[in-house]
């Protein structure tokens, strides 16, 4: 098995109201140091290697389902084989 970490974040140009709300909440809790918060998705995929190239599978999955290419960017890290 192979573990893949996927990070999906809003593009820089896209407003992040959720992040803004969290940032305001943190400041009202007394954490004035927090200047900005951007929120995204973090996914851990467990993949059972088949004949196909894992990088291709992950990129495809990100572009077709895990992220919205119009407003989001994605990146991934393929980890060592996970012994099950």
């Amino acid at each position: 098995m192979v573990k893949v970490k996927v990070f999906v974040t809003l593009k820089e140009s896209v407003l992040d109201p959720q992040g803004k709300a969290v940032s305001n909440a943190l400041q009202s809790l007394g954490y004035e140091e927090v200047a900005d918060v951007r929120i995204g998705k973090y996914m851990e995929l467990t993949i059972e290697p088949s004949g196909r190239d894992i990088e291709t599978v992950v990129r495809d999955a990100c572009e077709k389902l895990l992220s919205n290419p119009v407003i989001e960017d994605y990146r991934y890290e393929i980890e060592e084989a996970v012994t099950q």
Copy 2:
């Protein structure tokens, strides 16, 4: 400014219906290799250093607002100073 990456994930013992749904969807799209998906939150905090220790601020923020300690775990990475 300091950039901090925060990862909030469900505890291992907690069921992840959202992850299950994504996993099933990926398999129906033809990605049988995908055995499991766990979904969490990824946050990027921009912090303006004040007198307080950044690690303490981040840990406090995670425990009080950014994660639900009952069902979620969190970890964070404090990055180099970001020049604005």
